[in-house]
Symmetry: C2
Subunit: 439 residues, 2 copies
C-alpha cells in the first residue's frame, strides 16, 4: 500500500484524555478513533491488526476442534428469561425496545443463545461432545469506560461454548481450550499466565483467567518466577485426554493468582521466587456444569435411551482488548513494536527523497519486488521530510523498515532496520528483499 493513497491520520501529541500507553499509542498511530464514550472506529491500520489477531484466535480454536458459527449482536429478552439472567444482570446490559415494543438487548455474552441453538439442533449422544464458538461484537454498558479499547463498551470477543456428556468430558473440553489459549497468546508474542479466578456472573466452580503482565495492568497478580520463562507453543493431540491433562497440570503446578485468589501457603512455599506485578486479563475460561442446560431444558438422548443434561463451559478471549494488551507489552518511547504475527504490514518502505528520480526508481522497484515476493509493504512514497517519515514508521511499529536514500544508492545499498532492536544494516536492495522474505 502506498501511503500517498492510504488513510493514516497519525498524531504528534498524545491526546489529553488517554491515560495509559496503549490508548495513547493507538490514537497517535492512527489505529482507532473514539466515536462515542467507550466506542471506537478502527482505522485502516487498526483494522488490519484486529483481523490478524482474530485470525490467530480462529486458527487455534479450529485446531482445538472447536466449530465456528456466528450469532447476532441483538438478542431477545425472552431468551434470557429462560435462564433467569434477564432480571439478574445489572445495568451493564444494554436493554433495547424495538418499534413493536419488544424487549431486546445487545448481547454481552451468549450462553443462553448457544444453549437454545444446541437444544434446537442436537438430538443424541452422537452430537456430543461439541465446542462451538464465534467472533462477534459485544456490548457492555460500562459506567465509566476508559483505557481505550481495554475497557470499552462495544468490543470484539471470541466466545466458545462446550457441551459434554458428563463432568469428565467437560473437563477435557476445558483442557482443550486451556491449551488452545496458551498457544493463541504465545503466537502473538505474549506470555499470558493462567490464574485461578472467580467465576462471577457466569457461574460455575472451575475457572482460569489468562493474564498478560504489564505495569499498567488493571489488577495485581502474584506468581512464581517460573512463569517468567518465555511462552512456548505446545504441539498437542487435542484428542489425547490424559496427555492434555498432563500439560494443564504441568502449567498449573506453578503458583499464579489474582488478588482475590491469593493463597498464603503457596506464596510461602514459593519464597524468593514469588513475584508481584500488574496484569491485563485477555482470556477467561469457565466450567459451569448444567447451570444453563438444566433451566433451559437442553436434553439429549443417551446411548442407553436415557436423558443427558449436557455439562457446559464457556471460554472468552477479548479480541479487540488484545490489541491494547500487545501494545502494553511491546512498545518503547518512539512507539509501537508489533510482534511479526500481528503486524499490520511486515515492512515499511521509506523513500527518503520522493523528489529524486534515482531514489523513487529504486523504491518503486523494491515495492514491486516485495509485493511479488508476497511481502506486505506499507510504502512511504510521500513528498515529506525524512525525519517525519522515520518518526511515523517508528510510531506505527512495523517489524522491518527498508530505507532508500541517495547516499546509499550511490554505493548500491539500502538500509534494513529491525524496529524491535533499532539495528540497521546496509545491504543491496535484493538482499533486503531476500532477508524480509525469509523472516
Amino acid at each position: 500500500m502506498r501511503l500517498s493513497r492510504y488513510f493514516l491520520p497519525v498524531m504528534k501529541e498524545s491526546p489529553a484524555d488517554a491515560q495509559i500507553v496503549s490508548h495513547k499509542l493507538m490514537l497517535r498511530a492512527g489505529l482507532i478513533r473514539q466515536t462515542a464514550a467507550g466506542i471506537y472506529a478502527w482505522l485502516p491500520l487498526g483494522t488490519r491488526v484486529l483481523a490478524r489477531i482474530a485470525e490467530i484466535v480462529r486458527q487455534e480454536q479450529d485446531r482445538a476442534g472447536a466449530i465456528e458459527l456466528l450469532m447476532p449482536t441483538l438478542q431477545s429478552a425472552d431468551l434470557w428469561r429462560q435462564s433467569g439472567r434477564y432480571d439478574a444482570y445489572g445495568p451493564e446490559m444494554l436493554r433495547i425496545s424495538d418499534r413493536h415494543e419488544r424487549e431486546m438487548l445487545y448481547g454481552p455474552t451468549n450462553e443462553e443463545m448457544i444453549t437454545a441453538l444446541f437444544r434446537d439442533g442436537a438430538r443424541s449422544y452422537r452430537d456430543l461432545p461439541r465446542t462451538l464458538y464465534h467472533i462477534q461484537w459485544k456490548f457492555r454498558d460500562e459506567v465509566r469506560p476508559r483505557f481505550g479499547v481495554m475497557r470499552g463498551r462495544e468490543f470484539l470477543m471470541k466466545d466458545a461454548y462446550s457441551f459434554d456428556i458428563d463432568e469428565a468430558g467437560a473437563r477435557h473440553s476445558y483442557n482443550r481450550m486451556f491449551v488452545a489459549y496458551l498457544n493463541t497468546f504465545a503466537r502473538m508474542g505474549l506470555r499470558a499466565i493462567p490464574m485461578q479466578a472467580d467465576t462471577g456472573p457466569i457461574g460455575g466452580d472451575l475457572s482460569h483467567e489468562f493474564i498478560v503482565l504489564a505495569p499498567t495492568g488493571e489488577s495485581d497478580v502474584f506468581y512464581h518466577a517460573n512463569w517468567e520463562r518465555p511462552a512456548e507453543l505446545s504441539a498437542v493431540d487435542f484428542d489425547d485426554v490424559a496427555g492434555l491433562q498432563a500439560i494443564v497440570s504441568g502449567y498449573t503446578a506453578d503458583y499464579a493468582a489474582t488478588d482475590e485468589k491469593r493463597d498464603p501457603a503457596r506464596e510461602a512455599e514459593a519464597g524468593d521466587a514469588l513475584r508481584q506485578s500488574r496484569g491485563v486479563e485477555v482470556g477467561h475460561i469457565f466450567y459451569f456444569g448444567t447451570k444453563y442446560s438444566e433451566p433451559m431444558g437442553l436434553r439429549i438422548q443417551g446411548q442407553d435411551g436415557g436423558e443427558i443434561v449436557p455439562h457446559m463451559g464457556s471460554y472468552g478471549i477479548g479480541v479487540s482488548r488484545l490489541m491494547g494488551a500487545i501494545i502494553e507489552a511491546s512498545h518503547d518511547e518512539r512507539g509501537i513494536i508489533w510482534p511479526d504475527a500481528v503486524a499490520p504490514y511486515a515492512v515499511g518502505l521509506i523513500n527518503m527523497r520522493a523528489d529524486d528520480a534515482a531514489c523513487t526508481g529504486a523504491a518503486d522497484g523494491l515495492y514491486a519486488d516485495l509485493r511479488a515476493a508476497g511481502v506486505e509493504v506499507l510504502y512511504d512514497d510521500r513528498d515529506e521530510r525524512g525525519g517525519a517519515k522515520f518518526a511515523t514508521m517508528d510510531l506505527i511499529g512495523l517489524p522491518w523498515q527498508i530505507i532508500v536514500g541517495p547516499k546509499g544508492l550511490e554505493k548500491g545499498v539500502v538500509e534494513l532496520k529491525r524496529r524491535a532492536t533499532g539495528k540497521r544494516i546496509e545491504l543491496a536492495p535484493q538482499e533486503a528483499v531476500a532477508k524480509v522474505t525469509a523472516a
Copy 2:
C-alpha cells in the same frame, strides 16, 4: 471436517413460515436459525459461506483501490443531528438509550460517521481522492421482516464511501465501484444488472441498483435481452479514467430499469428484445455531492490554498442478503447448488458403509489425501444409511461429491458426482483427488 464432529442440523421438512425457496433451503440445509423476528444466527455451514462472500467483496473492493476500516455498530444520535437525519429517519432506525440516558442508535448506514472520521483525519488535497469501506452488521427495524436473510433486521453490509475534489473526480470513484460491483457479483456466479434507481433517503442525483434476476424477487424489472449474456470479469486499470468510463457507458447502453424508473421510449426501442422478470437488489451505489460534507463541515485545504468541500458517494452491498440471492439463482428440487467460489466446502466425501472396514479405510485415505492437497472437504463418516447421506449432500449443495461404496471398491473405483449436473463418473480414488484439485 468430519460430519461426526460437526454441527449441521438439517431439516427434512420445510418450515411453515418460510415462503421463498432461499429461506426454506437456508433453514433446511442448516445454514441459519432464526433467534428473534428478522434476526438470525449463522450456523457453521452458513458462517463459512458468509465468510466466502465477504472475502470476495473485500478482494474486489481492495482491487478497486478502496481502503478497509471498521466502524462500530452503535452510533451517537448527536452525530446524526449534524446531518439533520436523526429526526428525518423513520422508525426503521433502532433508537437506544444507554445507562446515562444518552441517545444512541444501531447504525442502519454510516454516511455521518465516515464523514466525521474523514473530517478528523484528512487535511489537504493530498488526502483526496479516497474511498473507504467496511463490512459490518447493520440494523433496520423492518415493520414486517420476512424472506429470511433477504429482508432481515440485523444484516451484514459492505458500505463504501468516496471523497473527491470535485464532481468529475466523484464520477470516476463512482465508476470504480460500478465496475468493482460487476466483477464482485460475476465471481459469485451471479448476473447482476445495474439499473437506474431512485436515490431514496441517502439523497443525490446519480444512482444504480444492482439486481439479480430471480423469479421470487421482490420487485419487477425490465431489461434488454443483451443482459442475458453471462456475466464476465472485466480486467481493468482502475486508474484509467477514460477507460473506466467507456466500460460503464458500454454496460449502461443496454436498457435496464426497475418498475419506478421505466422509460417507455427505450422500451419501444428494445422491441422484441425487451424482457421482464423479478429481481433481488444486491447492491446500490449513489453519488450525492456535498449533501453530507457541507452540513457536517468537512473542509479540505486545496492546492491553491482555497477550501474544498469534498464530493461524496456511497456504495452498498448486502453481504448476508447475497447468500439468499445466490440460492434463489442456483438451486433445484433437491437443494442448493453452490457456485464453486462461495461453496462452504469444495467436496462432500460420502462413506456409504461406515461399518465396513474396506470402505472406511478407503474413505479415510481419501479424506487425508484431499486435505493434504489443500481441498476443503466435508466428510460424511457417520453410521447412517446411504440414501440419507445422498439427500443431505444434495441438500447442502457442495459442488463435488465423492462416493465410496463396497461395490466400487471391489473394482478399484469411487464415484465422482458434480452437484450442478448430477453427472457421475467412476474413477480410481487418486484420479478423483486429481480431478477436484485441478477444478
